[in-house]
Symmetry: C2
Subunit: 239 residues, 2 copies
């Protein structure tokens, strides 16, 4: 497989960065091709702005997604965006590796999502969910957090079910663009763990990475379950 | 009331920006004090980084939340962060106004959350949810999106229930820091609407703003419902 790891952590010595390093070495040793976008190291610009478009379809009024589509068609996307989009289109598997900030990705990584998941290339019109522009690719979240597993165990837990907290990322972003979403790897309670416990998590993560092909993907809506207005065809629960 | 509106849209002429303008004028006319943080106009820096801390508690290894707490105690937060934190602590009501990007806030606004919701001031230790550092304040999301209401109507809808998609923001962020969260205002289908339909949304938004005091807040966990390990005390569903 071709694998793109997009990593965003402000401390290169962090445990999260060690997970990124482990993923690169483990997946390369398993025979995969790996590219890494280390957003802090790259000094990635996370701000979606008019300056992303050298030539605008409407120079007087910015609709970001429409200008993405226009620039993608004209092959005039900003160089930093195009470089990341090329890596993404090359990849069979996308791994987002990050510390959970406010139950989501850090702004640095959100800005990769905002700018690189370009309308026209990754979605657009009725190309979303199983018909999304990235259909055929797989994607996975890999993250560190301070909380313990029981705090995200189910809807009675203090923060509710982990998968519901991850919905905007796993469903609203990765599944929306067509990716098959693999179960996430959550490294719980990291700031409070000793070295032995941290090593145990790295061992678990290595195991997770080596069995990616065997993991059962998460289930998300398929457009065939909805009518032309995107109303559900039946009462069945989709995800 | 003292009201802080944090706005993030890359197009000053956008409908989302018109909502921000309407909120300022409507709330001021109703007798409130309003401050506005227009993040694109301010050229806000959304990247949480070591440069946010002039003097570090640990100069060799960055734990962002720990350095926030240290800098807050030492009153040495970066000037742009301190200025926003001062506005937040002044406010009785926080309104986040934005276009929904990937079922969440744009990176620009995520970076306001990452950097300004400072550990030590807004949360920390067992100060979260109803015991959060911002307890006593109210908060509300106000956003534009392309989708139509039936696409977020309930769990059978193509994107599931709106409140679940907003969980990281409303529960994981606003409620977590102690804010009482008011029902959001969602401006649906905006890119596809004519001027009359847009004006109708602005009229609805004005009505929403003028009845803020009457809105029933959303319900979130209270720490008294959990034991010292943050396990639920009973089987009751909290939110």
């Amino acid at each position: 497989m071709n694998i793109l790891i997009v990593h965003a952590h402000p401390e290169p010595q962090s445990f999260c960065s060690a997970m990124k390093d482990l993923a690169v070495t483990t997946l390369e040793a398993a025979g995969h091709q790996v590219q890494l976008s280390d957003l802090y190291a790259m000094n990635w610009n996370p701000v979606a702005a008019d300056s992303d478009f050298a030539s605008r379809s409407d120079p007087d009024y910015l609709v970001y997604a429409l200008e993405q589509r226009h620039a993608h068609n004209q092959q005039s996307l900003a160089a930093d965006i195009q470089a990341e989009l090329d890596k993404l289109l090359w990849a069979d598997l996308l791994i987002l590796n990050f510390p959970l900030y406010w139950c989501s990705v850090p702004a640095m990584l959100k800005g990769w999502i905002d700018r690189v998941l370009v309308s026209g290339a990754c979605y657009g019109g009725l190309r979303f969910y199983d018909r999304g522009g990235l259909a055929g690719k797989r994607a996975m979240l890999s993250f560190t957090l301070g909380a313990q597993p029981h705090m995200f165990a189910d809807e009675q837990a203090i923060h509710g079910e982990l998968d519901l907290m991850l919905r905007p990322l796993q469903r609203g972003t990765l599944a929306y663009t067509g990716c098959t979403v693999l179960p996430p790897f959550a490294a719980y309670h990291v700031p409070y763990l000793d070295d032995a416990a941290r090593q145990a998590i790295l061992d678990d993560y290595r195991h997770h990475l080596l069995q990616l092909e065997q993991l059962t993907p998460l289930r998300f809506p398929r457009l065939a379950e909805f009518d032309k207005r995107l109303q559900p065809l039946s009462g069945e629960v989709s995800a």
